[in-house]
Amino acid sequence: MTHITHLMTILYARLLGLYPPGFRAEFGDEMRAVFASALADAAATGLWAALCFSLREVAALPRNIIQAARREGQHRTHAYRVYRARWIARYNAVWFGGLILLIALQRLLRSGEIDALRAVQMLIAVSLVLAWRWERLGGLLAALGGALLCGLGLLGGYGAGQGETLLAQGLTMLVGALWGLPYLIFGGLFLYVGLQAEA
């Protein structure tokens, strides 16, 4: 039982990392201590009670985290801005980078071959996902890759729009540039967060 409660306390401490930094710095240690004491109490009556207690705590976390983030947002601290930017970047990196990787892998498995451009795009998507862990390096690679894709998109749009009206050519180039824009934005956001966190 001691091992289980110890593991649950460690897990809870990890989950506390989801709270905004200001709140975490102020109450994180206390919350962990209170959780450990309450869990020990619950565990004294049995494993089922300890599990119920832990589940109740975990279930209450999302609402409490949102409330804490909202309150910290009202204070508009610098730390909160970085925290918010980090989660925006992380959330988008996972769904966007993951989706692109999934599509690229699906195509690769279906056709069995890969061209240079798709390989580059996959590498950039991987950088974006890895930026979750290595913010500055992943962000820099994703942003540079995004800029490269934007440039290629512009050139491609320019080529495809040859012979069209100026407006049509401009629009084609714009659509081409949009290709790498998400990587540029989310990679840049990771880079910003990484640099701010270091500062």
Binding site: A33, V34, A38, L61, N64, I65, R71
Partner: protein, 113 residues
């Protein structure tokens, strides 16, 4: 801003403030006391408790005591205390509930007679 503008308090907030009305307490003691005061009806999660404490600290209704009592494990335990404003808020809420109870009893007595 008058006292009444803060009222009514949520049940959880009232119980947290009541828990601190007699003496300063640390987080876990508040958690247990709220459960006892509410006769087991309100079981606060750790996150809910500290969310409420954070808000009450910001509002100036409670304060954190400077002297941290070391726990058995050696970790510091911060205690919280009701401020003067907090005490006035609790009194105002208690009076509001009393008025409500008087009206309710009066109306029920009239209906049963």
């Amino acid at each position: 801003m008058t006292m009444d503008e803060h009222l009514p308090l949520s049940e959880a907030t009232l119980f947290i403030l009541l828990s601190l009305a007699q003496e300063p307490r640390h987080g876990y003691a508040i958690l247990k006391d709220v459960e006892t005061l509410s006769q087991g009806r309100i079981t606060l999660s750790t996150g809910t408790l500290y969310g409420a404490l954070s808000r009450l600290l910001d509002q100036g209704w409670i304060e954190r005591l400077a002297d941290d009592l070391p726990e058995d494990s050696g970790r510091p335990r911060k205690r919280y205390r009701l401020t003067d404003i907090g005490q006035r808020i609790v009194r105002a809420e208690t009076e509001r509930l009393e008025r409500l109870a008087v009206v309710a009893r009066f109306r029920l007595a009239k209906e049963s007679s």
